[in-house]
């Protein structure tokens, strides 16, 4: 036991002390933050060229003037189209908009003409379209003798509010699905990344120990199993350290940067368009609802379960990676094929996970969260949807048993593999080592 601790310590410290670890740990959040900031700058970018648009209103729908937009200056004109065209050529205006007369109040279509030397850009199109639509709507209402109030009554929204059957049932709201899917996707993805990054790290390290022959010195002091387990645990702790630092740093850096650039929090920028469409009170309600929804999640169950799945999944896959690393020779490419049976289930699991967050109670979700090669990625994605307790318990049980079994099985491959040189090893040999030991 003492020796395993020494090995864990070395595996952990040599990695954590490396400059590359420090750089990756500190720069990744900065990189992500920089990306988010740049992305929100780009999305929030508004055209800085100001357009002057002159409007010919043949319909008479516009009463009073037209309000300017940040990048568009409107003006009304009674001049003829030909005169205005000349003025566009003389660069007094950039474009002419012609609103035709509304001939039939019941017509559902209205074509506005846009004359310009440049093409019609999306931002201008949407502004013109919305403005004209509002004017025409008001005009039609007035002509048809409809009251403003009645019109407003027609534009309403519907929402579906989930309610529990029993009094003490879970208090789901309409946000549950979206928030659950968000949390689930993030957790599944973190799982997927850690399994890959740190599993590969274990594999490369085992392979390196084998090719540099240090392994022979090592296992004249410790059992191969101790060396393997110590390495898996040590690297796992490195992963945990990194993920925890990231979890703390990323929000910090993002918030810090947002303040610095005077930006809105990035989470809101993504949905800024949707928000803009709602009235502010409703938007505020949504944010509040989302916040409560996130707080309402049973974090006391989700966090420990996430850790259990993290450990189970990591041990399961890292031990397989270790076994494969032990079978690898110095020729990287040749032995790369050995990793395929490990990568396929991981990649499949991430696809299943994306499907499962959409339908967390489907048969696919149920079965794949029991299958131990998928469950570490799929089940965490379901946790936010409160799956049945027995399902979680069974899945954890299967996962733990399987990962212990896989560690044991991998150790059998490992102890043979690390001592074998100069021979290309295929799946057949690996199988033999497992059985024979």
């Amino acid at each position: 036991m003492d020796k395993i601790l020494l090995i864990i310590q070395r595996e952990y410290l040599t990695r954590v002390k490396k400059k590359s670890f420090l750089l990756a740990t500190l720069l990744t959040p900065l990189g992500i933050a920089a990306f988010i900031v740049v992305a929100s700058l780009i999305f929030g970018y508004e055209s800085d060229e100001s357009k002057r648009i002159v409007v010919i209103d043949e319909s008479g729908v516009i009463t009073g003037g037209i309000k300017d937009e940040a990048s568009i200056k409107f003006s009304l004109s009674k001049k003829s189209l030909e005169d205005l065209k000349q003025e566009v050529r003389d660069e007094k205006f950039d474009a002419i908009v012609v609103i035709p007369a509304v001939k039939n109040l019941y017509s559902k279509d209205l074509q506005v003409l846009y004359y310009s030397e440049d093409g019609l850009t999306l931002d201008v199109e949407s502004v013109v379209k919305n403005r004209v639509k509002d004017y025409v709507r008001d005009y039609k209402a007035a002509q048809l003798g409809l009251e403003e109030k009645s019109l407003d009554a027609l534009s309403f929204s519907t929402s579906v509010e989930p309610e529990p059957i029993d009094e003490d049932g879970e208090n789901a709201s309409k946000m549950t699905g979206a928030i659950g899917a968000g949390i689930g996707t993030i957790m599944g993805f973190v799982m997927y990344l850690t399994i890959f990054i740190y599993g590969m790290m274990v594999m490369r390290s085992v392979q390196e120990e084998k090719t540099t022959r240090i392994v022979e010195v090592m296992i004249s002091s410790v059992k191969p199993f101790q060396l393997m387990l110590g390495k898996i645990i040590g690297v796992g702790l490195v992963g945990l350290t990194q993920v925890l630092i990231w979890a703390a740093l990323i929000p910090l850096v993002v918030v810090g940067l947002s303040f610095f650039f005077g930006l809105e929090a990035p989470s809101s920028s993504a949905s800024a368009d949707a928000m803009a469409a709602m009235d502010p009170e409703e938007a505020e309600n949504m944010v509040l609802l989302a916040m409560t929804e996130i707080q309402n999640q049973n974090w006391w169950a989700i966090v420990p379960l996430f850790l259990i799945y993290f450990l189970g999944g990591y041990f399961l896959y890292a031990s397989m990676f270790a076994a494969v690393g032990s079978a690898m020779g110095e020729d990287q490419g040749e032995s790369q094929a050995l990793t395929i049976p490990i990568t396929i289930p991981v990649v499949l699991a991430i696809y299943i996970m994306f499907a499962v967050v959409q339908a967390p109670n489907s048969t696919l979700a149920m079965w794949s969260s029991q299958f131990p090669l998928f469950s570490p990625i799929v089940m965490p994605a379901r946790l936010a949807f409160s799956p049945p307790i027995w399902e979680v318990a069974l899945s954890v049980f299967i996962l733990v048993v399987t990962s212990v079994f896989f560690v044991w099985l991998s150790a059998r491959i490992y102890r043979t593999g690390i001592l074998l040189y100069g021979k290309k090893i295929g799946f057949k040999e690996l199988g033999k080592w497992m059985v024979r030991g």
């Binding site: 020494l6 490396k18 540099t212 022959r213 022979e216 010195v217 002091s221 410790v222 001592l419």
Partner: protein
């Protein structure tokens, strides 16, 4: 008491018998040479002694009892293919290996101080392994092998890659350790080194023990009644015709084959009688190299493999 003994040890890999019923016992205090051509089974034997693998049959005794996990701290092993963690510094690396052998932090540090001082490499402490030359790394590997003060020290080709100065340094350490009562197991292909260093050898070929004994006894048992004679001037024809001349040495000496049953004294008497001035007269014993090649070449074992 013998520090190392193998009793009918058998090791099979799939269909190949790597070590077939090998037994030997190293006499106390003898520097022991484990010899054999490539693929003979030396490494397999060493791996079993160091408990990297287990024998399928038979027992290995270290200091009188069957070797077990408890003996790990009593064995030091320097494999032929050297390996150290390149990114670790010398001090951390040696401490790590010493502690894995069961030394406390304090004892390990004391042992380290001793060896750094002894080899005069105090300045290497904080250097990373990858910054060291091959020869320097070899020295570190040697220290790693003996830092926990093992009773049984197994050195596989310890001099490969070392310059003559460092070779002598390590050689002296080996003698000193042997004098302190440590059992040295020395494995090499270099027969002149065996002849120089080892007292007792076992020759392994195709997984079997084909020759075992004290180096001087083995050499004696392979004597061919050859003598080297060097005289001032040339040997008279009359004398030469009585004997079978085998060869000339580079210094102009004669290698003379005596017939079976005839002792060197007879030749010496003839020489004296002929009146030449004898400057050198000695029996030529076969080199271990010759014995090695003869044995390995002629030996034709009944293959254990089908």
């Amino acid at each position: 008491m013998s520090l190392l003994k193998l009793d009918r040890v058998l090791k099979q890999y799939e269909k190949v018998t790597a070590v077939n019923n090998v037994s030997f016992e190293v006499p106390e205090g003898a520097i022991f040479g484990l010899l054999g051509p490539n693929g003979a089974g030396k490494t397999s034997i060493i791996r079993m002694i160091t408990m990297i693998t287990r024998p399928d049959e038979g027992d290995i005794y270290v200091a009188g009892k069957v070797v077990g996990r408890d003996d790990i701290g009593r064995i030091g092993y320097m494999p032929e293919e050297r390996g150290l963690y390149k990114k670790m510094n010398v001090q951390d690396h040696l401490l790590y290996l010493a502690r894995l052998k069961g030394l406390s932090k304090k004892d390990a540090n004391a042992a380290l101080d001793y060896w750094f001082d002894r080899f005069g490499i105090e300045t290497w402490r904080k250097k990373n392994i990858e910054e060291l030359s091959k020869g320097m790394q070899q020295k570190i590997q040697f220290i790693a092998t003996v830092v926990h003060d093992p009773t049984l020290i197994i050195l596989d080709e310890p001099f490969s890659g070392l310059d003559p100065i460092n070779t002598n340094l390590i050689k002296d350490e080996i003698y000193e350790l042997a004098q302190k009562g440590k059992q040295i197991v020395f494995s090499t292909h270099r027969m002149e080194q065996v002849e120089e260093i080892c007292d007792y050898i076992v020759l392994i070929n195709k997984g079997e023990n084909v020759l075992e004994g004290w180096v001087k006894d083995i050499k004696n048992s392979f004597r061919e009644n050859l003598f080297e004679v060097q005289v001032e001037g040339e040997l008279p024809e009359s004398l030469l015709s009585q004997y079978e001349q085998r060869d000339r040495t580079r210094e102009g000496g004669y290698i003379v084959q005596l017939p079976e049953g005839k002792a060197g004294n007879a030749l010496l008497k003839d020489l004296m009688d002929s009146g030449v001035v004898v400057t050198t007269f000695k029996e030529v014993l076969p080199s271990l190299n010759e014995i090695f090649i003869k044995h390995v070449g002629e030996y034709n074992p009944v293959l254990a493999t089908a």
